[in-house]
Symmetry: C2
């Protein structure tokens, strides 16, 4: 059975997609088979892996909006990296976000569509849009654990609390046993010492043992890899960014078993 | 009559709120009266201006969801800066995003609520969430022009095209004469020369004369000002960030008259 992790944060630009893509690639490098589903209408998973934006067999939004239960694997496409499967960019997810509102049991559609996928992969990652709406909710209900990237800003920190509140609602009201894998500090710029100390202290005070040990530094190779449409491991395997995402994959293994 | 400018981009973290807050403050410094409405459920306008998160008289979401036409000024609160009025953080905007879907004429609710405000201020700015949904649509229909921040990344650049497509739909299908004030390059890091050249070239190729002359550099004072809850002009008036946002205010004046 696969471990399923949602990568979610309401704050925009904190590194959700950068984390989803490079964590997936790190797990594949460590020998795992990985399925990375992109629940964001921006469709940046495929651009970050320069996957030809060829349409998948079925867009993910069609799986979510189907009248009868579908299989998320209908939307799976092979990436250029052996062992890593993706979903194609799907602008229709923007429409699905609002159309899901009226559906009965709208939160559990993706969960029901993942039964087969869970038997086919070692790990499934779900990249979420910067909003706590129906798409993120579907990811949380389909996941065993949630990973919350947070950059070193007071604004991003505020958003983490909102997400953790939603996790409590998912556990209590929807009775889904969702773990918090942890809060991942991202885009940490060694030069901004006073801001890092201030926000770092606030993060420790607010989230204490939820903070992951792994910290992702600001590393221009990560942004350049994205522009080149490659994972950091294909683009610059001996960079600070590559080391950090390998460490994250290892920490995830330790925490989730 | 006020000039109304929406600050919108689907891509998260490109500097929409940083631009909204500091452009507003630059206009106030230049002697204008400004109303800055926060259409993002994150509510970061008030945190960036350390406005005590006291509730407004009426939350903005209540104005948008009212059965009969309301006045956006019912939601206005004074900021700490004379001449600048805001709306309070309103998590209810998350709910409003999906509830607006079913309303007749859902796109023009904010536009109708702004009639009085347009006579009271020199400029009205509308900060948008990182999503091309009902809230951003309401901002575009209420605005005379849209300002599109874009950081130096291929991913952000892709999102600009989506927004410009939406502008065409707003003009043609909804018959609203919306201008594009321009695409604003943000978070430009002088040290990443090759990425800037690559993305800069792609921006020029794709958006040519829509690119604003003003460029916002990466400036840690902007992030630190936000953490301190101040505009850049209160926090560090002689910084690169302050200069850039003054230049933006001046360029806006030239382009919009
Ligand atoms: N550690 C890092 N070092 C340098 N640049 C980074 C790092 N992490 C992310 N970035 C850059 O920051 C920008 C935002 O990252 P990304 O798109 O992954 O965030 P996101 O949370 O997925 O955004 P969105 O909210 O739009 O989905 C991108 O341009 C990316 O290249
Ligand atoms: N020019 C800049 N220099 C340095 N930091 C910046 C700059 N512009 C924005 N930032 C920082 O980048 C982060 C993202 O900026 P901001 O929150 O304004 O973007 P946004 O587009 O409003 O995000 P969202 O999509 O979540 O609404 C913030 O932490 C902010 O402090
Ligand atoms: Mg993303
Ligand atoms: Mg914002």
């Amino acid at each position: 059975q696969a471990r399923v992790v949602a990568i979610a944060a309401r704050k925009g630009g904190v590194g959700k997609t950068t984390t989803a893509v490079n964590l997936a690639a790190a797990l594949v490098e460590a020998g795992q088979s990985v399925f990375l589903a992109d629940l964001d209408p921006q469709g940046h998973v495929a651009s970050a892996l320069r996957e030809v934006a060829r349409p998948g067999p079925v867009p993910l939004s069609e799986v979510l909006l189907a009248d009868r239960p579908r299989d998320v694997l209908d939307a799976a496409i092979e990436s250029g990296l052996p062992g890593l499967w993706l979903t194609a960019p799907d602008k229709g997810l923007g429409d699905a976000e609002s159309r899901l509102t009226g559906r009965v049991g709208r939160e559990t559609i993706l969960q029901a569509a993942m039964a087969t996928a869970r038997t086919r992969y070692d790990t499934i990652l779900l990249d979420c849009p910067p909003m706590l709406g129906n798409l993120t909710l579907n990811a949380l209900l389909a996941a065993d654990a949630v990973l919350v990237p947070c950059d070193m800003s007071i604004l991003a920190l505020e958003g983490v609390a909102d997400l953790l509140d939603l996790v409590v609602t998912v556990r209590e009201r929807l009775r889904h046993p969702l773990d918090v894998l942890g809060v991942l500090r991202t885009r940490v710029d060694g030069r901004n010492k006073s801001l890092n100390d201030e926000v770092g202290q606030a993060l420790a005070d607010n989230f204490g043992d939820l903070l992951l040990d792994t910290v992702i530094p600001v590393n221009s190779a990560l942004a350049a890899a994205q522009s080149a449409g490659q994972s950091i491991f294909a683009f610059r395997p001996r960079s600070a960014g590559a080391d950090a995402y390998r460490a994250l994959a290892a920490e995830m293994g330790r925490r989730l078993g």
